[in-house]
């Protein structure tokens, strides 16, 4: 591809530029490469097989399994409610819309620990919903449902926001055109709306997935990281370090990092495709 930048932006090897580049590289190394590298070095030192065995002995695989289940559940739930919410917020005018629109970003602004605590206050012992939950015989806090609930809450804005942006940009003309051509509401949704928002939906889902894999504070507070019941990959790392099972902690951390990297690469590809189509 020919360089389309104006001359003024082309790279010239001035000392100032070299210094700037060195600074950026050093900063990235300090923050990213050295920690990730030392994780890898640690795993190699202990021996990969020993690390895997230790993860197993410390109950790491079920914890990783829970993280994956929670992440997938968050993607599905936020996929459905994110699309529905985005359509409702963008396409309808109702009293309190601005307030609701603002509240959607709340999970990004408040600490996940606070979120977890709030869920405990609602669903936990002596909480607002306790009589109802007891009557139904449901247990939410310190059990799997609370992990899903907390993670869904923390990742709520991603799909909703991504899809909202796309919907605003799209306008309603294509949907109106489908209606004049005789399409029913569901035909219009599946044939016109869904294909048009699919990139926003995939992008938002990837962000949701990456965030759900790494969530720590909220799941720790609502789940209590009970070994074999509510510990997840992240809380497993936390307790493993605490109990001096370093190899297991290193190994799990590296697995999570690798998963997140994989999603970042996917995200980058999606972004590229989106800019190409725009």
């Amino acid at each position: 591809m020919p360089d389309a930048r104006p001359d003024a932006f082309r790279t010239r090897w001035l000392p100032r530029r070299v210094a700037l580049l060195a600074l950026v590289v050093a900063w990235m190394a300090l923050l990213l490469l050295i920690p990730l590298g030392s994780l890898a070095v640690g795993v190699v030192q202990f021996g990969p097989l020993a690390v895997l065995r230790q993860i197993g002995e410390a109950g790491g695989w079920p914890a990783l399994g829970r993280t994956v289940v929670v992440a997938i559940a968050s993607v599905v739930l936020n996929g459905v409610f994110g699309v529905a919410g985005a359509i409702y917020l963008v396409r309808h005018r109702f009293w309190g819309r601005r307030l609701l629109d603002m509240l959607v970003d709340l999970p990004l602004a408040v600490s996940p620990v606070m979120t977890g605590l709030a869920f405990i206050l609602v669903f936990g012992r002596g909480g607002l919903a306790e009589p109802l939950l007891e009557a139904l015989g449901w247990k939410i806090t310190f059990a799997m449902p609370s992990l899903v609930l907390a993670t869904v809450f923390v990742t709520l804005p991603f799909v909703l926001r991504e899809v909202s942006h796309v919907l605003v940009e799209l306008g309603i003309d294509e949907e109106a055109a489908a209606a004049t051509l005789g399409a029913s509401a569901s035909q219009t949704f599946w044939r016109i709306t869904v294909p048009n928002i699919r990139h926003g939906l995939t992008y938002g889902s990837t962000l949701t997935l990456a965030r759900a894999l790494g969530e720590f504070g909220a799941v720790l507070v609502v789940g209590g990281a009970i070994k074999g019941r509510t510990d997840t990959a992240t809380t497993f790392i936390f307790t493993a370090v605490d109990e001096r099972h370093e190899p297991a902690a290193y190994g799990m951390a590296l697995i999570l990092a690798a998963l997140s990297m994989a999603f970042l690469v996917l995200l980058e590809r999606l972004k590229k495709r989106r800019t190409r189509e725009a």
Binding site: D173, E174, A176, A177, A178, A179, T180, L181, G182, A183, S184, Q187, R191, I192, P195, N196, E277
Partner: protein, 349 residues
């Protein structure tokens, strides 16, 4: 399939977009809704199509009320201002969409799409995406898509506004020819009078949500029913005065006002191209400026006792001989129209 619109009113909050508009569009005709932007033309079109609901009034197509029908059940083809092509579908898929949702069998669908592709000259573009088409091609795909389900009526919202001037000229001729071939009752919205007059059989002039005048292009042009229509159809001069002895006199200009009582305040409207002027001493006014507008020339003058006067002539007109800033001129009015003066308007003598 005639269309009748009866006493249509539409409000958006406190804004009245359409106010008691009644239209009658004859079967097989190509009609234009003409007027300034924001005047309610597109809203009328959207109400006819069912995309917008009227607050009052009725839409009757082929002698049957369609008020209770949803847009999808009205079988009206609609061409959107920015085409609204389905961006993730090819040209062929776009055109076939209206057939597909009606569960037309694949074979019949292919035949119909191929017919429309041929009719609209889109051969070779069937597998392209809308983003790979020019403005004029998108326009034709949008029309083909709207025509595919064989609609009773075709509505076009500002169909030529999104293409550049040269293509627009070509598309106008093309729309007229297409209509002459198909004879689908059609209405298009435009704010461009040249477009309305060169394409439509009948023109409805809409302003501020009201119907100002309906008629053939010639009727509207030669006999503007209201002051708005007269002003809208080209540059005009406006003079106010009171009738005396059956004439309205403003400065040196005198127009017969037969049957109007003495003392009635009236407004005189002179089209810039319904005037003659020539160099004469002492004359009745003085030329201030002469402007070249492409193939036309505009003369700005000041009339003694009447004020500014604007006149337009073809560039090579012999009338322009010797006309230059500062020269004195005589003026002759070939056609002038009188309208009752709006009550309390400034300028009432």
């Amino acid at each position: 399939m005639g269309i009748r619109v009866e006493h249509l009113t539409k409000r958006f909050g406190s804004f009245v977009a359409v106010q008691d508009v009644s239209l009658e569009i004859r079967s097989g005709e190509l009609s234009a809704l003409l007027g300034p932007s924001g005047g309610g033309k597109s809203t009328i079109l959207r109400i006819i199509s069912g995309l917008e609901a009227a607050d009052e009034g009725h839409v009757i197509i082929d002698e049957q009320s369609v008020d209770h029908l949803h847009a999808r059940a009205r079988n009206i083809g609609f061409v959107f201002q920015h085409y609204a092509l389905f961006r993730h579908m090819t040209v062929a898929q776009n055109i076939g969409f209206g057939l597909e949702v009606r569960k037309v069998p694949a074979e019949a669908r292919r035949t119909r799409v191929a017919d429309l592709v041929a009719l609209l000259g889109l051969q070779g573009l069937e597998e392209r995406l809308p983003s790979q088409l020019s403005g004029g091609q998108r326009q034709r795909v949008a029309v083909a898509r709207a025509l595919a389900p064989e609609p009773k009526v075709l509505l076009l919202d500002e169909p030529f506004s999104a293409v550049d001037a040269q293509v627009r000229e070509e598309l106008r001729r093309w729309l007229r020819r297409l209509h002459d071939d198909l004879h689908v009752t059609s209405i298009f919205v435009t704010h461009d009078q040249a477009e309305a007059f060169s394409v439509a059989d009948r023109v409805f002039i809409i302003n501020e949500g009201r119907l100002e005048q309906a008629g053939t292009p010639l009727e509207v042009l030669d006999d503007p029913a209201t002051e708005f229509v007269a002003r809208f159809l080209g540059e005009v001069n406006v003079y106010d005065g009171r009738v005396r002895d059956g004439f309205l006199r403003v400065g040196p200009i005198e127009v017969a006002a037969s049957g109007v009582a003495d003392g009635t305040p009236m407004r005189m409207i002179l089209r810039a191209y319904d005037l003659k002027l020539w160099r004469e001493e002492p004359g009745v006014g003085v030329v201030r400026r002469v402007l070249l507008l492409g193939d036309r020339v505009k003369v700005e003058a000041v009339l003694d006792g009447a004020g500014p006067l604007f006149a337009q002539f073809p560039r090579r007109s012999s009338l322009l001989k010797g006309i230059e800033p500062g020269c004195r001129i005589a003026v002759e009015v070939s056609t002038a129209r009188l309208y009752p003066l709006p009550a309390g308007s400034p300028g009432t003598p």
